[in-house]
């Protein structure tokens, strides 16, 4: 789209995340991931993640009843966050590992499941010491 007018897609404002039990999912995103809970509106539960709103919702139609896209949460210290989330009861699929060597940093990731079995990831850009 044209970047000079009002039609430019500026950024992601919100991401929908399917939850089959919104109370259980709210507890996970609040207590395990530690994200600020914004508000609840009926079966919708909203969180803030660095300016992007996450909307937990029951799928409205069978077509929407599928796992979430993989969301990659940025962290400063991936090993420390991995340990904290493990201690808080998150189920990890692997250990933090280098997934790509970029020119200036190593990209680390580790994958885990939320309470609704959605696959999520932590990511961290670790500057290369030369």
């Amino acid at each position: 789209m044209d970047t000079r007018d009002g039609t430019k897609l500026s950024r992601i404002g919100q991401i929908a995340i399917n939850a089959h039990d919104v109370d259980r999912a709210t507890a996970f995103y609040r207590d395990v991931l530690g994200l600020p809970h914004l508000f609840r509106a009926g079966q919708l539960s909203f969180f803030d993640c660095g300016g992007v709103r996450l909307m937990l919702d029951k799928p409205e139609k069978p077509e929407f009843d599928h796992p979430s896209s993989i969301l990659y949460f940025k962290v400063g210290d991936i090993r420390a966050t991995h340990r904290r989330l493990m201690d808080a009861g998150a189920k990890f699929e692997d250990e933090p590992h280098v997934i790509a060597q970029m020119p200036k940093y190593d990209l680390w990731m580790t994958f885990f499941r939320d309470s609704e079995n959605n696959l999520l990831a932590l990511m961290s850009e670790v500057p290369r010491s030369s």
Binding site: M1, Q14, K74, V75, T81
Partner: protein, 135 residues
């Protein structure tokens, strides 16, 4: 949340934001054309069978599902636009499939929240959203 985490804009678990979102594609050139030419997002780079876009600091990673379990539609991503009526008209002109005309979805305290749903080239439902200040 401890004070160090707060000063760094982190949660107590150290999460600072969304860095990347994966979007499953079945035809990468088709999807790359859609996100670049129709949505107008900057293409950062391609790597093998993946294409990376920037959307206001969040990276979108387009690529095939790496396991059958992951071969499902994307989460609904809500893209912010300044003028939702104009953006909707532009999508229609470019042949994008619209789910329903732009509608007022929630009157908030200081603005009206408008949204319009559309499909990307891979059949994923996406939305445009706009916070329109109340006159």
């Amino acid at each position: 949340m401890d004070s160090t985490a707060t000063s760094l804009g982190m949660t107590n678990m150290g999460i600072t934001g969304i860095g990347q979102i994966s979007i499953i594609t079945h035809d990468l050139p088709r999807a790359t054309a859609f996100y670049r030419d129709i949505l107008g997002l900057p293409l950062l780079f391609t790597a093998g069978n993946m294409a990376f876009f920037d959307c206001g600091g969040v990276r979108l990673m387009l690529g095939p599902a790496s396991a059958p379990e992951l071969d499902h539609p994307s989460s609904i991503l809500y893209f912010r636009v300044p003028d939702i009526q104009a953006a909707h008209r532009r999508l229609v002109e470019m042949g994008v499939k619209i789910e329903a005309p732009p509608r007022l979805i929630a009157p908030m305290k200081t603005y009206d929240l408008w949204m319009v749903g559309f499909r990307d080239s891979e059949g994923n439902i996406m939305q445009l959203m706009s916070e329109v200040p109340r006159a």
